[in-house]
């Protein structure tokens, strides 16, 4: 929906072979497993994002991929070669740090050309390549000698990116580099990063706690929770078919209703009523289930209009989300159980100003997911 085009398809037509493979990777800190049971194939040229809340182990995973930590168990292979113990300076990978880790005592050009200096390139070569890379990341030439700490936040991002490109890595890692930026700049840079990915054809592995960021840029998304990869899939798969309640809630604000089976019918636990449910994801037979309905699949029902499921309620709050409006609707009753449901509509379909606050909300079974508890 948000991601209409598999982005890398234009750049790489060759079959996507795994460039990085993780098998049973585990990392212990003392008695605590920060990362556990990770099996993952990263395809050449893809943009893979690992999302998860803080503490979910995504940074630890990234540090192992970059070589700054070694796995306690399991194997990491790069093009079939075991790299568990290969130090970062011997890996054809490069990490863009959350802090960016720009060298404050060096100019923009010196920062970018650092990897070239390591390789022993002469000053002229370094400058030439730095300027090339600056053009790629859209930095003006006269920034070459500018002190990097005098650059703005967005410019620094570009320097960090160009510096990583100068290393000419096969895989680029990103550790939430955009997290400190304001919304507008972040949006612009997300797009630029996506473009750069397409232009360079490199494999990008990006970690973030923001699914929104992941959705915009990624070919595939891996969701982490408590050290484990819970689900790996395209943005559509993650959004449209979350494997569990954690993923569904993590993916965005959702309405969740707990159900129990009574005979052939599903009865609401939180709010009274009988509901129609779609089949569960894996086809299991459930006695208890969660129904997850995204706010944008909810609608207000006009008189006589029908939906598979409907609830009466009162609008008690509304938020503008720009082009969309979110309504908070209290359903149920004080005695039998009350719940706040979210309904999100485009502005064009908003409730008219004078409309009654007493509404009926509804959704179709096909638009909701049924998950086991």
């Amino acid at each position: 929906m948000l991601q209409t085009l598999p982005a890398a398809s234009t750049a790489v037509e060759a079959p996507r072979l795994p460039i990085l493979q993780l098998v049973g990777v585990r990392k212990m800190f003392g008695g605590f497993a920060a990362v556990e049971g990770i099996d993952l194939d990263v395809r050449e040229g893809e943009f893979l994002t690992i999302v998860g809340p803080s503490g979910s182990g995504k940074t630890t995973l990234l540090r192992m991929l970059a070589g700054m930590d070694t796995p306690s168990e399991g194997n990491i292979t790069l093009r079939g070669e075991l790299i568990n113990d290969v130090p970062p300076n011997k890996r054809p990978t490069c990490l863009v740090f959350q802090s960016l880790a720009l060298f404050p005592h060096k100019s923009v050009g010196e920062n970018i050309a650092f990897a070239l200096k390591v390789k022993g390139a002469d000053a002229a070569t370094r400058k030439k390549r730095a300027l090339e890379l600056m053009r790629i990341v859209r930095l003006p030439d006269n920034y070459h000698d500018k002190n990097v700490m005098k650059c703005s936040g967005g410019e620094r991002q570009r320097v960090a990116l160009a510096r990583a490109f100068a290393y000419d890595p096969e895989v680029l890692f990103f550790d939430e580099p955009l997290s400190a930026l304001d919304y507008k700049l972040k949006k612009a840079l997300e797009k630029e990063l996506k473009d750069l990915h397409r232009e360079t054809g490199k494999t990008f592995i990006y970690i973030t706690h923001s699914l929104e960021e992941a959705m915009v840029m990624s070919d595939r998304i891996g969701v982490m929770r408590a050290g484990r990869l819970v689900q790996v899939g395209t943005p559509e798969e993650i959004y449209g078919a979350p494997v569990d309640r954690f993923v569904s809630e993590f993916v965005g604000e959702v309405n969740t209703l707990k159900m129990k089976r009574v005979g052939q019918q599903w009865q609401g636990v939180d709010v009274p009523g009988t509901f129609t449910l779609g089949s569960p994801q894996n086809g299991a037979v459930l006695d208890e289930a969660f129904v997850v309905i995204r706010p944008e699949y909810m609608r207000f029902l006009a008189a006589g209009e029908r939906a598979d499921n409907q609830l009466k309620g009162t609008v008690y709050n509304e938020y503008s989300l720009g082009s969309r409006i979110q309504y908070q609707v209290r359903v149920g009753s004080k005695d039998a159980g009350e719940k706040v449901m979210l309904v999100e509509l485009s502005r064009a379909r908003a409730l008219p100003p004078g409309a009654s606050r007493e509404v009926t909300i509804g959704w179709d079974a096909a638009d909701a997911f049924t998950l086991g508890s």
């Binding site: 970062p88 990978t93 490069c94 990490l95 740090f97 404050p104 650092f114 390591v118 700490m149 290393y167």
Partner: protein
């Protein structure tokens, strides 16, 4: 005056309160200011005044002459030797300590982990014992039939080297005494190098030496230079090492000043020497600090 005061009079109650708070602040600072004035400024003024007094007299404020300075800069006066020795000792002390303290500072930051605190205390602990006592301890260590010589002989070896009462052992004593003053600013300087930068440099293919040269050293430089400056300034004023360990094999400049104030009873000459040395150190420090752009080095500009 009154007009100006009126014009600038605080208009709101809040401004009045602020103005009063300032004056309270100034009043609170007064004891410290007075203490500084008496404890710090007065001796300096006295020394400066004495340096212009008639040689070998106590006619401070009652005579004015440049004779003391003239005699110091007289080419036949060998006091420059003491000065040269002091500067030389200080430079060598700084150089030796820079080499010794760096690995320790690095260890305190990156290697010793939870032992770092304990190890720091070990380096601080000797400071609680009088410097002279510690130096006499080293005399007992190095002296004939002392700890070193005696132990080696007991082991059937020919005995310790004859190092006591030499310039070399003076330098050793200075390096020993001033180690903490180099170590701690240096440790702080190294602590200022963000771990990320080192990781990033390594990730970009750099080896240990390259990272050290290009990242660690330049970024730790403020701490290193402050340590060096502190050590140099302290070392140039050191006397106890040359007297106790060195057996006065070398007369250092501060010893010359001491001689002028004690045995020679030539306070004006001693003061003039003190003024010359102070001016030298102040000029050096200010030059170094002005060249040493901390902001730039820390990347804050």
């Amino acid at each position: 005056m009154a007009d100006i005061a009126l014009a600038r009079a605080p208009e709101t109650a809040r401004q009045v309160r602020q103005a009063r708070m300032l004056s309270v602040g100034a009043r609170c600072a007064l004891p410290v200011a007075v203490l500084l004035g008496i404890g710090f400024l007065a001796p300096m003024v006295a020394i400066l005044a004495y340096s212009f007094a008639t040689p070998r007299s106590f006619d401070v404020f009652r005579s004015f002459t440049l004779e003391n300075f003239a005699s110091i800069f007289d080419p036949t006066n060998t006091v420059w030797l003491s000065f040269a020795w002091s500067v030389g000792f200080a430079l060598f002390t700084v150089a030796i300590l820079a080499v010794i303290a760096y690995p320790i500072a690095y260890g305190l930051n990156a290697v010793f982990g939870r032992w770092a605190g304990f190890i720091s205390v070990l380096f601080v602990f000797p400071l609680f014992v009088s410097e002279n006592v510690r130096l006499y301890g080293w005399v007992l260590f190095f002296i004939k039939n002392g700890v070193l010589d005696g132990t080696l002989k007991w082991l059937g070896l020919p005995g310790g080297p004859e190092v006591l009462y030499t310039p070399g052992v003076t330098l050793f004593g200075m390096a020993y005494t001033y180690l903490p003053f180099m170590l701690f600013p240096m440790t702080l300087g190294l602590a200022l190098v963000p771990r990320d930068l080192v990781d990033a440099a390594r990730d970009l293919g750099a080896g240990r030496l390259f990272i050290w040269r290009e990242i660690e050293l330049p970024l730790a430089m403020p701490g290193i230079l402050i340590g060096m400056l502190l050590t140099f300034v302290l070392a140039i004023g050191a006397t106890a090492e040359a007297k106790i360990l060195g057996g006065q094999s070398i007369i250092v400049i501060s010893h010359d000043i001491e001689i002028a104030f004690t045995y020679s009873q030539n306070w004006p000459l001693g003061s003039a020497l003190a003024v010359v040395v102070s001016v030298f150190i102040a000029a050096l420090t200010l030059t170094a600090l002005s060249k040493l752009d901390l902001d730039r080095m820390l990347g804050r500009r």
